[in-house]
């Protein structure tokens, strides 16, 4: 019996594949296998002999079966390993091409600005791009002869023969939305009005369309000091710096009184703008206390209400924050530019997550 065991165990160990292994199994423990035949002989044995031979044969059968199973598993593993070895792929090959979309800086910065002012209670107002000259000029205390009107390089809409109304204009600023919003909601109010505006000017630093955001806050006791605080908070938040110096310079806009141009402290090093440090001043916006005539034009009693307004260029603050050199490229849709300066779809600016990555 030991011979039998040695024979089959060595055959099993040497089996090269599953077919050979099956042959061995049949030869050893199959119905007519050598071990099975021996087991049939048990019936002819004496009880004493059977007492010895029976367990031994069973043990032999179990041992062979176990060796067969182990070998089978070993062969399967080896076969899998061999297959996997043949299944080598060049994983450095590129993937299927995927398009990466982007958000235009104007949209992104508009959302940033909105997030900041929303926190200070400003809602977003909108108005038409084509507007009457009353909303764009007269209501903002810019009468027909005012030099500012000529200086604005206004685009006028064509007037049909016989239509004697003054020509409509492409809004030269977002300020007409102030008037429309005052008419719509009355005081008190806090709004920002982002959007496209138009001036007939095209050169290195001017495009015939650009984007502004207007801010307006009207209340009982809103002062220029509040304006300064709001702008300080805005600039800090927008440029993502801890502190910033703002300089208010007296100036003149027909729609505000007093008026101030606002500079931020900055430095230019190697063409890079750093806000909040350095000895340079950069003009970023115009502002002031809303002129009583403008309040009146919007149907608000200047004896009861007062407030501030400001306006700045969205494209301009986008250029400053993100180091974009040329305004004209904003509207050229050059794919290389869109991909370089654009923002990922999921980069939604929030105050809790941060405005920029």
């Amino acid at each position: 019996m030991d011979d039998l065991k040695a024979k089959y165990l060595s055959q099993i160990a040497e089996a090269s594949d599953e077919a050979v292994l099956e042959d061995i199994r049949l030869a050893a423990v199959g119905k007519k296998g050598e071990v099975s035949l021996k087991m049939r002989e048990l019936g002819r044995m004496t009880a004493e002999e059977r007492q010895v031979a029976g367990p031994a044969l069973n043990a032999l059968k179990a041992e062979i079966n176990s060796a067969l199973a182990a070998k089978k598993a070993g062969l399967a593993d080896a076969a899998l390993d061999a297959r996997l070895r043949s299944e080598w792929l060049d994983v450095t090959l590129p993937t299927r091409p995927d398009r990466h979309g982007t958000i235009h800086p104007i949209s992104q910065v508009t959302e940033e600005v909105t997030a900041i002012f929303a926190d200070m209670g400003f809602s977003v107002a909108e108005g038409p791009r084509i507007d009457t000259d009353w909303y764009n000029f007269d209501a903002l205390n810019i009468p027909g002869h005012h030099p500012a009107r000529a200086e604005m390089d206004t685009f006028y809409m064509h007037r049909a023969e016989g239509d004697d109304r003054p020509p409509h204009v492409l809004r030269t600023h977002t300020s007409p939305v102030q008037i429309r919003s005052m008419e719509a909601t009355g005081a008190p109010m806090r709004i920002i009005c982002p959007g496209g505006v138009y001036r007939a000017d095209y050169d290195q630093t001017h495009t015939p369309m650009f984007h502004q955001v207007e801010g307006l806050a009207i209340g009982k006791d809103i002062s220029m000091a509040n304006l300064k605080w709001v702008l300080e908070e805005f600039v800090k938040s927008y440029f993502e710096v801890d502190g910033v110096d703002l300089r208010f310079r007296a100036s003149h806009f027909p729609f505000t009184e007093p008026s101030a141009e606002v500079d931020i402290r900055c430095s230019w090093e190697g063409g890079t703008l750093k806000v909040g440090e350095g000895d340079d001043w950069l003009e970023i916006l115009g502002s002031g206390m809303v002129h009583p005539k403008v309040l009146l034009a919007g149907g608000i009693d200047p004896e009861q209400w007062q407030g501030f307004a400001f306006g700045m260029g969205i494209d301009r603050i986008a250029m400053l924050k993100y180091g974009i050199p040329d305004l004209r490229a904003f509207f050229d849709s050059d794919l290389r530019w869109l991909r370089h300066y654009g923002f990922a779809a999921l980069d939604v600016p929030t105050l809790h997550g941060g405005l920029s990555r």
Binding site: I103, P147, L170, A200, P208, A225, F248, H252
Partner: protein, 799 residues
């Protein structure tokens, strides 16, 4: 507006430095645009004295000079012919930069002899073109700075020139005196008393002046004096220096005087050659229309009715407030001069100047508003100056009309500065500021000076006080929140919808563009626009002549530009307004996407393929879904003719409610816009997407069944023009309770089916809710599906 420091000091008694003055100007609202300090580059030149000058042993023209300087005796080799013992010179020692020769002086050897500096000529210091020899000063102490000597003896040479920007509300600051007044109010010096003319006319003015009654509104007053026997010629040096310093060319004394008073006190004047004034009469009147005049700029102008003209007996002589005429202008030969000072209405002057396209100094000032009360004073000051330098005899003053009354007063409410600006300025200081600016305070009423047409209310008083006090000192004060606690969201549903559309399109791989709102007529016409209603009256170029009727033409132009740069495949989108008319509000928001070329570059996996309609359909559906559009829609055809007639769909809620269109663009449009390769697009109308009916965030309960769903496939043979959606809708309607989903998974056209036929295969998913489906139930539903589909499509189950 340019002026020099010494000119300013003629009106302002100050010791402030240029830096202090420019800082104050900018802070006051008179923004400094530039300072040209010609003395700065001469700061290191000092005065020396030549003690001896010997001929250079090896050069006939060179002299070896011993020069006494602030650093003791220096040996300097000099080639100037006038280098000689005893003269006072200007020395540039080693290390000094000499601007005229763009060199920094070093110690050198000239023909073997050491030289420790240089003696400078005027040209070498850029003082003049003079270079015949080195400067010989008539005075000066050894060691003194040369700039100090110049400031003392020839100040014009080192007079700093300051240029400031003047906002339209400050005509008074268009005169040096007005600027001085602002600075004095700020405390940068003291305003000197104004010159008071004391002119007595020696004879009656032979020229009579008149203003037509209907013209008094646009020219309320006109003054003049005649000076006879003047000698015109070049102006005195100081006047020439001043005009040159601010960029004006001296012409002749009589003309220069008018320029001087224009800048000095914002008082434009006009000088007529009195001998050329026909009929000794000047009449101010409205143009009838059609009159012409050759102006001082030698251009001919034709007038339209109501412009303000000044005519003599022969015709038009001058355009009131804008420009004088060439014929009666003063020349070198003028001996009798008539000096005019008038007040022209700003509005009329602006319209006239704009219509005639004349941008003269006079127009610039009159349209902003000069000081009417100063009119006769300015005239007399000018006449005094003319007589003083050019001789002659002055007539009495003629006058037509009357100086317009500008008197007005506003209440100074001291608390208003605190409430409006947020600065605490004592009332006494407020009153002092206003007084310094020329306001007259009578109790709490502030009477506005005649030179401040901009001050029209209480708020203007606040502005004056605040700007003089300096807004730089303003300290920010928190703006209280509207409501306490967490701020509420502020965006409207439409604003959120725009943002969702934008972010979704970007996530789908589209690059957002912002293109101009105006476009060329031809491109606009391709997309249903380009009519006169959307035409610009004054486009910046013919490429931007009409408001865009859609976003696609701009995106297609962008695509063409990119293709011209070698980028053939792209996905672009834009969210923005398009214009269907020229009235306010005749605009609508659109979202458009454009796919051009292939899905990507050729790749190892063979994934790249030309873009097709189903790409843009998927993207349009995704963006619509992000904007909250319902999933169940109709797909109709028959959109505008810039779409491929057979390859587009309108996503609709009913035949008139179009949410969006997707499809292939018409080849003719692509050809016209120079696009290569297939181009697919979608346009969505966010404002058409219905707002959700229910309020609140609740999603409703989720109803799911634990019973197993069953899927069955069917294939139908239908006519080739039967649309899949018809089939799907029919199948879905077979048992609304049981059928959860119907999907098309195969389309097979022609082949064994025969011409004009196709097979559409669908999977129908049945989801039981109450009991497990038995074969008989499934068979029953299957039969209903077959019946419904064959009825709706006229097709049959594929055998």
């Amino acid at each position: 507006m340019k002026f020099t420091l010494s000119w300013l000091k003629q009106h302002l008694d100050t010791t402030a430095s240029v830096d202090e003055i420019t800082y104050a100007l900018t802070d006051l609202g008179l923004e400094v645009e530039g300072v040209e300090d010609r003395g700065a580059k001469l700061a290191d030149f000092t005065i020396g004295k030549v003690v001896s000058a010997e001929k250079h042993p090896d050069a006939d023209r060179l002299r070896v000079c011993q020069v006494n300087t602030d650093e003791g005796m220096k040996q300097i080799i000099c080639g100037a012919p006038n280098a000689r013992e005893g003269i006072t010179v200007v020395v540039a020692k080693p290390g000094v930069y000499v601007p005229g020769i763009d060199t920094t002086i070093g110690v050198g050897k000239i023909r073997g002899i050491e030289s420790f500096g240089m003696m400078a000529s005027e040209r070498e210091m850029e003082l003049s073109e003079e270079h015949d020899g080195i400067i010989e000063l008539p005075s000066g102490e050894v060691g003194d700075r040369f700039v100090d000597w110049l400031a003392e003896n020839d100040p014009a040479k080192v007079d700093p020139v300051i240029e400031i920007a003047i906002t339209p509300n400050r005509p008074d600051a268009l005169g040096v005196r007005g600027i001085a007044r602002d600075l004095a109010a700020r405390g940068v010096g003291k305003l000197k008393p104004a010159s008071q003319p004391s002119l007595e006319g020696a004879f009656p003015c032979p020229i009579t002046v008149s203003i037509d009654d209907d013209t008094l509104g646009q020219c309320p007053v006109f003054f003049g004096r005649l000076i006879r026997g003047v000698t015109n010629g070049p102006s005195p040096q100081w006047l020439q220096d001043r005009l040159r310093a601010i960029g004006l060319r001296p012409i002749s004394f009589l003309v220069d005087v008018t320029n001087y008073f224009t800048v000095d006190c914002n008082r434009p004047l006009h000088v007529f050659d009195a001998d050329k004034v026909a009929g000794n009469t000047l009449r101010v009147h409205r143009a009838k229309g059609g009159e012409t005049l050759v102006g001082l700029d030698e251009k001919e102008y034709t007038f339209s009715s109501d412009m303000t003209l000044i005519s003599d007996a022969d015709g038009v002589e001058s355009i009131g407030g804008v420009m004088g005429g060439l014929r009666s202008g003063c020349t070198e030969e003028t001996v009798n001069v008539f000096v005019e000072a008038a007040y022209f209405d700003p509005v009329r002057t602006a319209y006239t100047g704009r219509a005639l396209r004349i941008n003269s100094d006079a127009r610039y000032r009159f349209e902003r508003g000069i000081d009417p009360a100063f009119t006769p004073v300015g005239l007399d000051l000018a006449c005094e100056m003319i007589v003083e330098h050019a001789g002659g005899e002055v007539s009495s003053r003629v006058q037509a009309g009357a100086v317009p009354d500008t008197t007005r007063a506003y209440r100074l409410n001291a608390a208003r500065v605190q409430s409006l600006v947020g600065m605490d300025i004592p009332e006494s200081e407020q009153r002092q500021t206003l007084t310094a600016l020329g306001f007259r305070l009578d109790g709490d009423m502030a009477h506005v000076p005649s030179w401040r047409p901009d001050v029209m209310g209480e708020a203007d008083l606040v502005e004056e006080v605040a700007r003089v006090a300096s807004l730089t000192k303003l300290v920010g004060k928190p703006l209280p929140r509207v409501t306490s606690g967490v701020p509420k969201p502020v965006m409207t549903p439409m604003q959120r919808r725009q943002q969702a559309a934008r972010r979704t399109a970007a996530a789908l791989g589209y690059n957002e563009c912002v293109t101009y709102s105006f476009i060329d007529q031809a491109s606009a016409a391709l997309f249903g626009g380009g009519d006169d209603a959307t035409k610009l009256e004054n486009p910046i170029s013919s490429d931007m002549s009409h408001m865009r009727p859609a976003l696609l033409p701009g995106l297609l132009q962008a695509a063409a530009r990119n293709q011209a740069r070698g980028f053939m495949d792209m996905a672009l989108f834009e969210v923005g307004p398009a214009f269907h008319g020229g009235e306010p509000g005749e605009e609508h928001l659109l979202v458009s996407g454009l796919l051009v070329g292939r899905t990507g570059p050729k790749d190892v996996h063979g994934a790249s393929r030309p873009v097709d309609v189903y790409d843009v359909k998927a993207d349009a559906e995704a963006v619509l879904a992000a904007m909250g559009a319902p999933a169940k829609v109709q797909i109709l055809r028959g959109a505008s003719d810039w779409w491929h007639p057979g390859r587009h769909g309108m996503i609709c809620l009913g035949p008139k409610k179009v949410l969006g269109i997707y499809g292939e663009l018409h080849p003719r449009v692509l050809d016209a816009m120079d696009i290569k390769g297939p181009a697919m697009a979608f346009t969505l109308w966010p404002q058409e997407v219905p707002l959700p009916r229910k309020a609140g965030a609740n999603r409703g309960a989720l109803a799911i069944s634990d019973l197993q769903a069953v899927e069955r496939d069917f294939a139908f043979v239908v006519d080739a023009d039967v649309e899949a959606l018809t089939l799907v809708n029919a199948a879905s309607g077979a048992d609304k309770a049981l059928i959860e989903d119907v999907r098309v998974f195969d389309e097979f056209i022609g082949g064994s089916l025969g011409e004009g036929k196709k097979s559409l295969a669908i999977t129908v998913r049945l989801q039981p809710r109450d009991t497990t489906l038995k074969d008989a139930d499934i068979e029953a539903v299957a039969q209903k599906v077959i019946d419904k589909v064959t009825k709706a499509t006229g097709g049959s189950l594929r055998g």
